[in-house]
Amino acid sequence: MTSYITRRILLAIPVLIGLLVVTFFLVRLIPGDPCTAILGEKATPAACRSFDQRYGLDDPIPVQLVIYVKQIFQGNLGDSLQSSRPVTQIMVERLPLTIELTVTALFLAVLIGIPLGLLSARRHNSAADVATMTFANIGVSMPVFWLGLLLQYLFALILKDTFFALPPSGRLSAGVLPVPFYEVWGWAVNTHTMWGGFLEFIGEFAIFNAFITGDWHLLWDAVTHLILPGIALATIPLAIIARITRSSLLEVLGKDYIRTARAKGALERRVVAKHAFRNAMLPVVTIVGLQLGLLLGGAVLTETVFNLSGVGKSLYEAITARDYAVIQGFVVVIASGYVIVNLLVDISYGFLDPRIRYE
């Protein structure tokens, strides 16, 4: 088992390094330079000279690469070219929101997707099967911004002033300012240290933060703002989860030991529930874990439509503004996260499915 884990970890390292290098070059291939993109219509040669010097953009490329890699190992992701703030700081502010959104979306997707998949599998090749799979696939077949706009229109305008009204965009209502839990509890925290930065990161999880400080008004505000984007984003994993549940269950149902149980006269429902279900869930659990990694970086459209300043939207804006530091930093973190999540899923799969361990 240990060798299995070690092997996976070792294999992940070159991938991560590859990611760093590819990002570095890819970003510099984009036409247009940061100075013109950021200073805009009024970028003069003199202004650009000082800009480039300040951000080390006038060093030769290999030097930049070395500095970049060195800084990453020191935990320094550089400063944003647009706002001069440390990329790590921006990440601390943006990542929690994306995680909250992703978790909400996955929760909804699992809640709806698994029952749909079960239903479809039980009624295999019937009209109900078609209807269920159509429903599951409708969400993923719609452009997410279309769905988002429709949801906004429905819940913010048509249902305005009713019980079902929901805020159309933003993370919190205007004027509602979150206070990190360590401030509420009177801790003296220096956010520039590693530990302080970590606490700040935790404090940025608005829902969790509100929960542990007992601020129910803030908690409710944060939750209601995540419902619509959560629904919109959930449509993507929902289809996949429904599909995988269905095929996984079908496959298991066709297996020999199920036939044996049926032959022994066990009730159909018990057969399904006891044997088939548990085994069919393995791949589903894996998929849920993988989707977590995928959604973290892929929620660009949802975040744009619902005006949530998360990782995806910031990354897209950084690409537009040629903010090299933010692009590199964010991609490194997202991709590393994805690789790590994959690793954890692989390892957990090893625990769950003994056959795998002995490869």
Partner: protein
């Protein structure tokens, strides 16, 4: 199931932590967080007479050799500042009223190392409370403001990139005023009894630019033919909101001397074809139309207009134009450097209300955007820049305008109508033609006023910013010597009670308002003015740091920074 077990554990953990935590706080009454220390402004009775032991500071370039407009800025006494210019400037006040030239306390600039990016301190009607990055900016009213104290407690800035989003938020009652609703929604807003439509009279122009170093645009006959072959009325009728007009000149008529001289060519397709044939292109030619897909009041729908112009060129003149969209920064770079072989679609929104901001910026002797320059135009402009009173400059600008028509460096198409929208319940909702809304004059009938603009500000230190989304919140907090009137292009006193020029407009003596305190309690005096200007204007100043260090409006409006390298 695995997921539910984790959720339960997490909830349990949360409950335990919450139980150990202290009591709840009422979040509507938030304390100023880690960003700004804002002490309540104390009312000190400042002496009306300047104190004798005041040490006035000054910024002096020594000479005008560095090429800029300002030679020195000197604090003559506690409440008087003198600006010495290298050449006469009829638009001095109009430029000085621009938000980047707002005044902050000298000590604060020193404390922040020249970069108060998220904690500006000013004298304005609002004080910054907290910038919740990514989400909102919260301001509190300044109860000790010397001017109109706001009628409400809390001002909140939010942002959304899409016009439809902003309108939705307004209609759902979550925000009180928005900027730039989509032109297609103008009618919807006007028809909705819960909303009010606020037209903005900001002068702007949209034009088709030629780079006359590339054939066939090097032939003035070709340019004139195209000018006659575009039905500009059709473009304005179909692609611009109500209130927009066809441009008779490059400069909108609201700017003095903008519309002197002959009106632009009429649409005459037969004459256009004839002229093009005479120039050697009876069957037209191939070219490209370059544009960027960015919303601006002068061009709200770039994609559609590009296609429309393509259609017209083909139908009227048999010119085959390929539509090419470019990335915004790249487009600006290439077009302003004169590198685009074809037609480029660009425009201009007024920075300050003076004809030099339109004509001089685009047609001066050194510009590169349109290719070769024409002395017929720039000589006239040079003369006009020396004349202070617009009435005395009519002839000069008539010459310039007529030369522009003859030489067709570009074709002006439209002056776009802009608008803002607000809830009908907001009294005094405004959007001045220059500058940001002046919220101290609005009354929403409740404690909090929420304003939604297009984007998040880049920073709140506007000496070093150029985007409107930063300038707007800055303006609520930090004030310049003068400011723009709420309903016209006139300038009105702000931190200066008057600025008197000498005979040839080269020396401006500004008398400052007395008894004003900054939001942190410190007193406003002439040294703060000198410091705020120096930090931006003098590249060798150790506090010349800012955000990107560009201080672009200082460089652009005052013809260059002092002690700049290279």
């Amino acid at each position: 199931m695995k997921t539910t077990r984790w959720v339960a554990l997490l909830a349990l953990f949360g409950l335990i932590v919450a139980a150990c935590g202290s009591s709840t706080t009422d979040t509507t009454e938030t304390t100023a967080a880690t960003t700004t220390t804002v002490a309540p402004a104390t009312t000190t009775t400042a002496p009306a007479e300047p104190s004798a032991d005041f040490q006035g500071e000054s910024l002096d370039a020594g000479s005008c050799d560095y090429g800029g407009k300002i030679e020195s800025i000197t604090a003559l006494d506690e409440f008087t500042v003198e600006f010495d210019l290298c050449s006469s400037d009829p638009a001095f006040l109009q430029k000085a009223a621009f938000t980047p030239f707002g005044i902050q306390p000298e000590e604060h600039l020193q404390e922040t190392g020249g970069a108060p990016l998220d904690n500006p301190i000013g004298t304005g009607p609002f004080m910054l409370e907290q910038w919740d990055r990514g989400n909102q900016i919260v301001f509190k009213a300044n109860p000790d403001y010397y001017g109109q104290v706001p009628a409400f407690d809390t001002l909140v800035y939010r942002w959304a990139t899409e016009g439809a989003q902003r309108l939705l938020e307004l209609q759902s009652g979550n925000v009180d005023q928005i900027t730039n609703p989509s032109p297609e929604d103008f009618q919807t807003i006007q028809d909705d009894p819960n909303l009010q439509f606020i037209p903005i009279a900001n002068p702007n122009v949209f034009y088709m630019g030629f780079t006359n170093t590339f054939a066939p645009f090097d032939d003035v006959n070709v340019r004139q033919a195209i000018a006659k072959g575009i039905d500009r009325q059709r473009i304005v009728d179909n692609f611009y909101p109500d209130g927009s007009v066809v441009a008779s000149h490059f400069t909108p008529c609201a700017i003095p001397n903008g519309c002197t001289g002959d009106d632009w060519y009429d649409f005459d397709p037969e004459a256009a074809r004839q002229q093009l044939a005479d120039a050697g292109f009876p069957d037209g030619f191939s070219t490209k139309i370059f544009y960027r897909d960015v919303f601006r009041t002068y061009l709200p729908d770039p994609g559609a207009v590009a296609v429309e112009i393509q259609t017209q060129l083909k139908d009227n003149l048999n010119i085959d134009a390929e539509v090419v969209v470019m990335e915004s920064g790249d487009f600006i770079d290439q077009s302003t450097s004169g590198n685009l072989d074809g037609i480029h679609l660009l425009g201009w929104g007024a920075d300050y209300p003076h004809i030099t901001n339109f004509l001089d910026f685009h047609f001066n002797e050194n510009q590169t955007q349109f290719g070769n320059n024409f002395p017929e135009i720039y000589d006239a402009l040079k003369q006009g820049a020396k004349i202070g009173n617009p009435d005395d400059a009519v002839d000069v600008y008539t010459t310039a305008n007529n030369a522009i028509k003859d030489l067709v460096p570009m074709i002006p198409i439209a002056h776009g109508a802009a608008a803002s929208a607000a809830l009908a319940s907001v009294e005094g909702a405004n959007y001045p033609p220059f500058g940001a809304p002046q919220f101290e004059f609005t009354n929403p009938g409740k404690d909090t006023f929420v304003y939604m603009q297009n984007n998040e500000p880049i920073s709140l230190y506007c000496a070093d910013e150029t985007d409107g989304e930063s300038l707007s919140p800055c303006q609520q907090v930090v004030e310049p010597l003068y400011t723009y009137a709420i309903d016209s292009g006139d300038v009105v006193p702000r931190l200066a009670t008057s600025c008197d020029p000498n005979e040839d407009l080269t020396v401006w003596t500004c008398h400052l308002r007395t008894g004003v305190t900054f939001h942190d309690g410190s007193t406003f005096d002439a040294n703060d003015v000198v410091a705020s200007w120096s930090v931006g204007l003098d590249a060798s100043n150790p506090l010349h740091v800012g955000n990107t260090g560009g201080f672009d409006y200082f460089a652009y409006l005052w013809d260059g920074l002092m002690n700049a390298e290279g």
